[in-house]
Every structure is written in structure tokens, then in C-alpha cells.
């Protein structure tokens, strides 16, 4: 029964993985009949490339930003929605809807909203007598703009993950804590959070991996610019491989990405064992 799946994985995952690793030791434009074997020189090239280093640090910053902003925000909304207030269904749909919109589409909409000269956001700022911001055109702000759109895009998704957890927290535990005189904050910290720790763990893993795969927003909104200020690891390898047709360093960059993600997952798995409560 598992054979078709294995074949699929072998052909579309394992095969390309090995091929990418092999490609990363060549210098090649995909067309020339004689790829040049360069050993690990592509990795040395990446190490010395300021653009690559910038892309890695941008990816890291995005991951940290997503961790710091979108997870707490998602949790906050989930707690609000779990209060069984009126209209939660509508709010839930609204909050989740941003996640359903393809990133390319929302990226385009934000590109218009964030336009320096005619964008809605700057018009609003002007109404308040503030200086317009060059959201996508300045290397200072462009990465923040990408982060902002990513947070907007994913917050509903994390909210849903947290909400699913919150709705499974046994009422009896919460009541017990309350009866014992625990404050709201204590209840949240000592009962609710441990109960939803598998959800939190899942959200963190997904959040970090997703952040490192940030591509669509960058492709649509900034094209990696200005001056590489928003180039991420995935955008770098796309740009290097398919726009510059320089497949060796691009393949090497994918291997680096793979290693980073594998390390992150490993770290989380081993750390996760210490605080994730699977049974309650």
C-alpha cells in the first residue's frame, strides 16, 4: 500500500534532493554541454558573497519577526475568540480569510496600498500630517513591509491552531484553578498554556519553516530589492538559478537552506520534548 507513496517520494523528493547536492558541486548555466566541476567552491562563493549573507540574515530577521509578532498575535485573537462572545464565527472567518488569499494576490494588493506616491496608507499618514513612508523602496522599511504582510497573511492560521487547542482545554482544570483562587493570568500560564503546548509547538515549527520559505511576498512586492534589502534565502536561490542561470551557487544555497531547516527542526524536536505535554 505504501509503495505508490514511496515511488512518489523517491522521484519527486529524494531524487531531486540528491541531484541538487550533486549540482552544487558544479558551475553550470543549464545549457552548456560541459558543466565545470568545482568541488566545494560554490559554498566558498556563497560564504564570500555579501548578497547571500544578506539574504540569510533577512530570512533570519523575518523568522524572528514572525515568531515575535504573528504567534503572540495569533494567540491573542484565539483567546478572544474562545471567550464565546457574540459574533465569534464572523470574526473567526474574517481573521482566517487572509490566510486563504494567495500570497501573490495579497502581495499585489499591498503593493498598491503601500505605493509611496499614491498608496492608501501614505494618504492616510498625510491626513494626520505625517511624512509619507517609502514602504517598498527604501532598504530601511522594505523588509518591515514584507514582514507586515507576512504577519497579516499568517496570523489567522496560527490563530486557528491555537483556537483548536484552547477548545480542547478541559473545563474541569480551568474550574479547579479558579476555585483555588488562581488569577486569570495564572490560569493562562499554568493551565491553559501547558494544555495547548502541542499546538504551540506545532505553530512554532511551522512558523519558522514558513518564514524561511518566504518567497511569494518578496517576488511580488519587491523583487528582492531595493539593493537586496528584501532578498531571502529562497528568493536568492531562485534569482541565482533561474534569473541569472547560474545553477551551481543556487543549488548550494538550497543545500544550505535544507541544512538550516533540518537543524531547526532537530533543535525544536529535542527542546520540545522538555516542555510539550502530550497527555493531560
Amino acid at each position: 500500500m505504501i509503495a505508490p507513496y514511496l515511488v512518489f517520494v523517491a522521484v519527486f523528493v529524494i531524487g531531486p534532493l540528491v541531484y541538487v547536492a550533486v549540482l552544487s558541486t558544479y558551475r553550470w548555466n543549464l545549457l552548456s554541454p560541459r558543466p565545470v566541476e568545482v568541488g566545494f567552491r560554490n559554498y566558498v562563493y556563497l560564504w564570500n558573497s555579501s548578497v547571500f549573507r544578506e539574504s540569510v540574515s533577512n530570512s533570519l530577521l523575518l523568522a524572528i519577526g514572525m515568531f515575535v509578532f504573528s504567534l503572540p498575535l495569533g494567540f491573542f485573537f484565539a483567546v478572544l475568540l474562545n471567550m464565546k462572545l457574540r459574533g465569534t464565527v464572523i470574526y473567526r472567518s474574517i481573521l482566517f480569510s487572509s490566510y486563504v488569499i494567495p500570497l501573490t494576490a495579497s502581495g499585489l494588493v499591498f503593493t498598491l496600498l503601500l505605493n509611496t506616491h499614491d498608496g492608501l496608507l501614505n494618504r492616510v499618514l498625510e491626513q494626520f500630517g505625517l511624512q509619507p513612508i517609502d514602504w517598498l523602496g527604501s532598504s530601511h522599511d522594505a523588509l518591515w513591509s514584507v514582514l507586515m504582510v507576512s504577519v497579516w497573511q499568517y496570523v489567522g492560521y496560527y490563530m486557528l491552531i491555537f483556537l483548536a487547542g484552547l477548545q480542547n482545554v478541559p473545563e474541569s482544570l480551568l474550574d479547579a484553578c479558579r476555585v483555588d483562587g488562581g488569577s486569570r493570568w495564572r490560569t493562562l500560564w499554568h493551565v491553559t498554556l501547558p494544555c495547548i503546548s502541542p499546538n504551540v509547538f506545532f505553530a512554532i515549527v511551522v512558523c519558522l519553516i514558513q518564514s524561511f520559505q518566504t518567497f511569494d511576498q518578496v517576488y511580488v512586492m519587491t523583487g528582492g530589492g531595493p539593493d537586496n534589502a528584501t532578498s531571502t534565502l529562497t528568493y536568492y536561490l531562485f534569482n541565482k538559478g533561474f534569473q541569472m542561470v547560474d545553477i551551481g551557487p543556487a543549488a548550494a544555497a538550497s543545500v544550505v537552506l535544507l541544512v538550516i531547516l533540518a537543524l531547526l527542526s532537530f533543535l525544536q524536536m529535542s527542546l520540545g520534548r522538555r516542555w510539550v505535554v502530550d497527555e493531560f
Binding site: 562563493y45 494567495p102 501573490t104 518567497f215 541569472m244 547560474d246
Partner: protein, 446 residues
Amino acid sequence: MNRRMMVSISIGAMLSAVLAGCGASSTQSSGSQSTGNTVSGSNKPVTVTFWYGIGGQLSQQIQQMVQQFNRTHPGIHVVATYQGSYSGGGAEQQKLLAALKAGDPPDIAQIEVHSMPLFSSAGKLADITSLMNQSASDKPTDFLQGMLASTQFQGHYYGLPFNRSVPVFYYNKALFASAGISSPPATWTQLTQDARQLTHGSGTSKVYGFEPLVDWWPWEYEVMSSGGTILSSDGQSATFGQPNALGILEAESKLVQSGDAMVESGPNYWDLMISDFAHGKVAMDIDSIGSAGEIASEINHKFQWGTAILPTYQGHKLAVPPGGGDIAIMSGIPKQQQQAAWTFMEWWTSPAQDATWSMETGYLPTHTATVNLGSYQSFLKSNPQYQVALSELKYQVSAPASPNYLTVVQDVQQGLQAIFDEGKPVTSTMQQVAGQVDHDLQSMGD
């Protein structure tokens, strides 16, 4: 992620085609696979597959003309398929790379002029030099001067000009008149002076004298017309960071710093510039002649505007980079197919089709005979902006024929953004980019 990425790439390419001024797009014929030639003895037509990368109305124009060809040539059946943007690194080019790698390419394809060396140096394009020399209508001398600049590699021809354009100078005649300027600037000294004179107002109603397009294509003009070169003659090192390559860039950057020019950033910078010009927000800019149609319809007779030859810099010879795409036959396809493909290309570039194509799309005619046609002459009378592009043709200088050129322009694009979006100094930034390019070229070899 991979699927998402591919979806986004194709959506992005589709959207950019739409944004480039087009409506709904394109008939797609599935299974455009080359089925080889006909069985000998049967009278089935030879099928020629043709990949192109311009969407919307332009795509419809191609389909119409292909249908016309198929009607008039019963022995040949051309199947033209839109494959996403043909731009360097666009979807069509990515698919072509993949198809060539997989050994199943189309018979002919549209290729962006700067990507021609990549494909021809790898031996993927058929050498059509002898076909051209024997042709009744496509001899090298039949083409407008400069038109074949991008189709040659090491003395051989690998393609015919297809949808070609050049950058030209656009100016708002109404703003010129109210500033008391009678004619468009012929030099950068004049342009700088005019830009200062044209700039007025403040806040959202400020009118800027000039807007540089933060793009590597006009940058080629800026380097080559300042008296510099882009790469060394062996193509192995960058020369665009040297002082003689930076004159025009420097002049543009100064205008931006003094508030007499504005720039657009973000991924839609090009469309935004067109819109700025069409709304009278800037008085002068440098844009493709291919944008003339879009500009005309956006302005919609609200004010008078015109085009002029690109200004020169301190007496240096004007150098105009070709833009757009060429059409090429893939190497190694069966003889019969190649013959049929060549028949199609000859037909496409013959004056009747050449004229229709350029009058319908705003791309440039390729043949001298086309320009001499009565129909084209009367088109020029009612659309004088194209005359300027035609008179620029003889100044065409192709970018370096390096297979690694796509790397160069991607690096340069980031440098231009540093200069214009972030206000970094021209000289040190371009020197730094040149260093980056050197680093890239050396490790790439060929």
C-alpha cells in the same frame, strides 16, 4: 513549497503580462509537443511548434497572424503557444531552458535580445547565416541598419529580429510650453537645465522635471553613451564602474538629489513611471518606444506630448541598446522542420507582415522595405513618435555578447536601486557592483 513557488511564478508572470498593458489573454493549445516530421509519402502538413512570451492583445495578434500563415501555407502547420513572459528569467525562458535540457524543445522560440548569447553560445540555436544569405527577402542587407545587432554571436546569425524596441526620450509639450522651453533637450547639459526649469509646486501637486527609470536596460544607454563600456572586450571583467561610464548616471542622480527628478520603486516601477508621465507629474522621462501606445491611451489627448532622440553626453557618440525579442530556430531539429520553420520566419519578416505587426503592436519594423511601404509611411505621419525610434536604429549597439550577461544585469539592477532608491553615491556603488560582477564572472567561467 515548490508547487507554491511555481504557481506564484506563473501567476506573477501572467500578472506582469497583464500589467504590461494587456487585457485577457491567450489561446493555449495543449500538447504543443513537436511530433517530428511527416511520414514520407503522406501529405500531412509539417507541424512547427513556436513558443512565445508576450500576452494579452499582443498574443492575439500573434495568433491571428499565425492563422493567416497556416491558411496560406497548406504544407506547414504552425502551432504557436504563449508560455509566460519572455523576459530574461521569465517563465517562457525558464520553460525553454527546461525543454532544451529535457531534449524536447519547440522548433522556434522568441528569445529576449540579451539572452541570445546564452542560448547561441551553448549551441542550442540553429546557425541561420547561410539561410539568410540565400534568402530573397532576409539577406542581412535587407534589414534596417542596427537591427541585427543582437542576433549575431561570433560572426554568425542565430535569429531574426521579432518584437524589437529601443528606448526613446518622452516629453510633455504642455509643460514645456508653460516653462517657456521650445524644444526637447539634445544633450544632458540641456536636459539638466530644463529639468530645473520644469520642476515646480510642492507636496502632492509637485511637478518634477525628469524621472529616471531604475532599470538596467536604459542603464546600458547611460553607460555606453557616457563613453564607457559594460564589460571588457573578452567579457571577463566589468568596466562599467570606471569614471567614463558614470557620467549620465551621475547627472540623473544629481537631479534626484536636488529634487528636480523623482523615482519610482517597488516591482511596478515601470508602470508607475508611465503613469507619472501620463498624469503630468513628470515632464520628461526615458522609456521604451514599445510603451508609446500605452502612454497615448493613458494620456488620452489631455495634453500634447512627443518623443525625441535620446540626449547625448559631452559630445560622446550616442549608443542605443536594442530591446525586445528575436526569434530563433532550435538546433538539431529535423531538416524538414527547419525548412518549414524558416519559411514561417521569412513570411513573418516580409514587408506585408512586418508592417502589420509593427503598426498593430508598436514594435519596430525590421526591414528597410517595410518602412518604404505607403501604408507604413502614412502610419508614421499619424504616429510621428515612431519616426524618432527609427532614426535611433542606426545608433544601436548591442550589449556584450556574453553568455553570463544575465548575471551582470541582475547585479546592476540592485546597484541602481541602491543609487536611486536609497540615495547612495554613484561612483562607489557602481564600483562595488563591478567588483561583485567580476567575482561572479570569474567563478562562472564559460
